[in-house]
Point group: C2
Chain length 299, copies 2
């Protein structure tokens, strides 16, 4: 398979913009018409499958929130894996947002279970598995290396947590080091270093190791962009968490590349309350509007 960053850039071109739709299914928020007569996991699968069809022609990637499926234990995990296969059938690239991390040997097991194509275990994912995984950088190089190995050999990508979009993250991530950097900037430096090297870089110049940089932390984005020139930024927080198009501008490079803006609730629950009968058009409209907003700031 081609390099992850090159595949992503091709998808952005094809779909018309650097848009990712986050799929975080919560039973109580699904339209009543979807829930009626169905068990929880079945309703979630029907809903997510339809969302994939609705956003698939605009979304360069979709991002599945693993927690929303794991809460239904093995039944939820099997559903997640079927949906990953469905996304790939629809020609939509997939991020598994599982934020995994551990020391080396356990990281290798996570890489096998969350990123590899799963053929060795009966092809659980179908269609080659997720294209990328979110990971925790707190373990440093030997925690990330096993994921990088799978990424390099299978054309897959990683996004390490650098600057999270929630308010509480400041307690650690905003602390200042003796060299003047914040902890998030130091994490960015570690990620940039680990992600560098010809074996990890695509023809586009970007590494298979990217970074999560919250849109709600736009005041930090410019410095992080400078530190991580080779990292694609996965930018959550757009929409429901309060960030707008202006907040994401600094996450892109000078050519308007190198970032993927992701929105979840503002797209998938764009219909509002579950009593709505015609929910599908709202979802479709929301992703189109988000694409227009991002296109406007990229000129």
């Amino acid at each position: 398979m081609a390099h992850f960053a090159d595949r992503l850039f091709a998808a952005i071109e094809k779909k018309g913009g650097p848009i990712c739709v986050g799929i975080d299914p919560v039973l109580e928020k699904l339209p009543d018409v979807v829930r009626e007569g169905r068990g929880a996991v079945d309703a979630i699968e029907v809903f997510c499958s339809r969302v994939l069809e609705l956003v698939g022609d605009r979304a360069a990637m979709v991002k599945f929130q693993s927690a929303c499926f794991e809460r239904y234990f093995s039944e939820g995990l099997a559903c997640l894996h079927r949906l990953i296969g469905r996304a790939r059938e629809l020609d939509v690239m997939v991020i598994l947002d599982a934020k995994r991390g551990d020391i080396g040997s356990s990281a290798a097991h996570y890489a096998a279970g969350c990123l590899a194509d799963g053929e060795a275990f009966g092809g659980a994912f179908g269609q080659g598995g997720p294209d990328a995984l979110t990971v925790n950088g707190y373990f440093g190089l030997d925690g990330l290396a096993p994921f990088m190995k799978v990424g390099a050999s299978e054309g897959k990508g990683l996004f390490a947590l650098v600057r999270t979009s929630n308010p509480g993250g400041d307690a650690i991530q905003s602390l200042k080091l003796t060299d003047g950097r914040s902890v998030a900037e130091a994490m960015g430096g570690v990620v940039a270093e680990i992600g560098s090297g010809a074996e990890y870089e695509g023809e586009c110049g970007y590494s298979l190791l990217g970074a999560v940089v919250g849109a709600t932390k736009s005041e930090d984005a410019a410095a992080l962009r400078e530190i991580m020139k080779g990292q694609i930024f996965l930018v959550p927080g757009f929409g429901a968490q309060g960030a707008g198009a202006d907040d994401v501008r600094a996450c892109f490079d000078g050519d308007g590349r190198g970032a993927l803006v992701t929105a979840s609730r503002s797209i998938t629950y764009a219909y509002g309350e579950p009593v709505v009968k015609e929910w599908e058009a709202s979802v479709k409209k929301a992703v189109e509007e988000m694409q227009d907003e991002i296109a406007a700031i990229l000129g």
Copy 2:
């Protein structure tokens, strides 16, 4: 259910020491006699179930490495959940070592899927689910709060990653802040603050929010113990990762309490090569020896 810390202290008393056995099953390392005629997940289940019986009278807790099960997808997860139920039948407390973390709403889903008792979803765990979960503190308070809520209401515990046992962790965790602390110490401070308060403290004085502090980082343990007076330390790295009894001493408080030492490979693979026929006695002997070693340093 009683408070997690009080339950753990009672288990330590009953089992004869602050010992945790890590269960990280890797197919290639299992005894041939266990693997023969069995599929991967079946062999893992038979092996782990027998290990639980062998160590159950000595181990205050067992720690299941989620990655080793997740690599077998939903089939592996179902196996993990059966084993958690089996441990509880044997009166062995369980840590699910899944190192989960996310922003608030997703953290709530992880808390439901990885820590709550699962009754609402058909009792997937059996016997009330795991007693504790490892979590990532990088998200700060709003990332940890949903886990704390479940912990407080269900008598369960958490261990936040503070100082990991692998060499690569130094790249972030050893960095120095302007106030003289390391990043790991700052993380410890955040954990101590989040874990404080009467609603989180047991009668023993310890919080339901503990900390992971690697035994291989013994030079940092004393300062972290001082910063986190209310945190039980989960101490990995003993045995196969190279740390010995002397390295864990500083993780305990002045009364020889407040830490749980965990070893994985040195116990569960104590028999050596898979060709061995009589593997069970070695496992039993290894946990007894570890208990004696820890007892010696605690006087």
